[in-house]
Amino acid sequence: MKLRFTVNGAEREVDVAPLARLLDVLRDELRLTGTKEGCGEGECGACTVLVDGEAVMSCLVAGCQAAGRDVVTIEGAGHEAVQQAFLEEGGAQCGICTSGMIVATRAFLEEREREGKPATVEAAREALAGNLCRCTGYGKVIAAVLAAGGETR
């Protein structure tokens, strides 16, 4: 099928199988390899992207379901404050989970801002519960989320 959708603000058109995973469309067709594949079954969050502003696992989204939607990946604009916070707090080791963590953090902070609620430790932990890191614990990741929350508020 001809898939037309917006990726990081630009109109794109690609020829894909309707059930191709959005993850593969992004990485293989559009060469946006910042989105990573971890488990491929919706358990790890490494492939998190935004679709119409909501965080989703791109390994679970069929290409046909992205038609006409607005997709933002780690390569897109708007993650800068979160990226900076992850850098400063040391919220990354090997990096495979990091793009997903940053995108999920952005969705979380934007939602908190919309609802006028602060980014608490508990809420941050819940928001990132679907993003697994196999290098280490999550202390510095959560610190980065909270720091980014402070910056964007």
């Binding site: 099928m1 199988a17 309707p18 059930l19 995973r21 491929g40 079954e41 919706g42 358990e43 969050g45 998190t48 909501e54 965080a55 989703v56 696992m57 390994c59 679970l60 989204v61 069929a62 046909c64 379901q65 038609a67 999920a104 969705a107 979380f108 819940e126 928001a127 519960a129 679907g130 993003n131």
Partner: protein
């Protein structure tokens, strides 16, 4: 994959596509289950009707007798909507990670009919009614009858799940929900349990309980209901009712997530704890 995949934009187009569909036609909603099945080869798609764009199947509205929930209402929407209350909200909240809740739908939980589905015990215990639509018309049946076996349901190939009516909470009805998994977030249930009950004049006048991950499908617990109906819910009665339900109403298995023995013991304890809450 040489599947025929169609993405209708309206309900009428979807129903037309389903007319004359065969048993291997698959309805694709949020994809949290099916996309994994396709990827690992457990399910070979031949004819897929992608219903995700059908906004007519979204949304929550108050209706006589309860709240009507569109089949495509996501767990995130269930968690947020002020019309969705108590145990259904709790279950939706605990389904999984944010990324999953943004895609996983109410209709998908029912349609996939996984024994571990978290919303289904709630729908069973609350006597929720599912509405199915086809080009020929609509029909309704209790959610507990809609789920017929391991990942099996009563949907005809030409039908889709339109919505679910969740009855309003009756005066003095109390409800409880508990999910136990390996971790608090983003885990598949070892045992999931929902109970709705009423006590009048010291006796149990209504009781409905349903559990997941303890049989090949989500099950009601009739032995529990029979053991307590019309009785004073003292500790001994609750204990013996819970014991008979665990003995007669469930058939858990050993799998990667837990063991049959652990699940029986866990269900027994959860039943006692939740019954204390709702029958107090």
């Amino acid at each position: 994959m040489n599947a025929r995949v169609v993405s209708p934009r309206t309900l009428d187009d979807a129903l037309a596509e389903l007319q004359g569909a065969s048993a291997d036609t698959l309805l694709l909603a949020g994809g949290t289950d099916l996309m994994v099945e396709f990827e690992n080869g457990r399910t070979e798609p031949r004819h897929v009707v992608d219903v995700w764009a059908l906004d007519e199947l979204r949304g929550v509205r108050a209706e006589d007798g309860g709240v009507r929930l569109g089949a495509l209402t996501t767990c995130a929407e269930l968690e947020r909507d002020p019309l969705v209350t108590d145990v259904l909200r709790e279950a939706a909240r605990e389904v999984g990670a944010v990324q999953i809740k943004n895609r996983a739908t109410l209709g998908g939980n029912l349609g996939t009919a996984s024994p571990a589905a978290d919303l289904n015990p709630v729908l069973f215990a609350l006597d929720a009614v599912v509405r199915l639509r086809s080009a020929a018309g609509e029909r309704e049946l209790p959610c507990a009858e809609f789920v017929t076996g391991y990942r099996a349901n009563a949907r005809r190939p030409d039908e889709l799940i339109e919505s679910v009516l969740v009855p309003a909470r009756a005066e003095n009805e109390r409800r409880a929900f508990r999910k136990v998994g390996t971790r608090k977030a983003q885990s598949i249930s070892k045992v999931v349990l929902a109970i709705a009950a009423r006590v009048d004049g010291g006796a149990v006048t209504a009781l409905r309980a349903a559990a997941g991950s303890v049989a090949e499908r989500t099950v009601l617990l009739p032995s529990l209901e029979q053991a307590l109906a019309g009785r004073a819910p003292d500790a001994a009665a609750v204990e013996s009712a819970a014991r008979s339900a665990v003995r007669a109403d469930v058939s858990p298995i050993d799998d990667v997530r837990s063991t049959a023995r652990y699940r029986r013991e866990l269900l027994f304890r959860l039943l006692k704890r939740l019954l204390r809450e709702v029958l107090a």
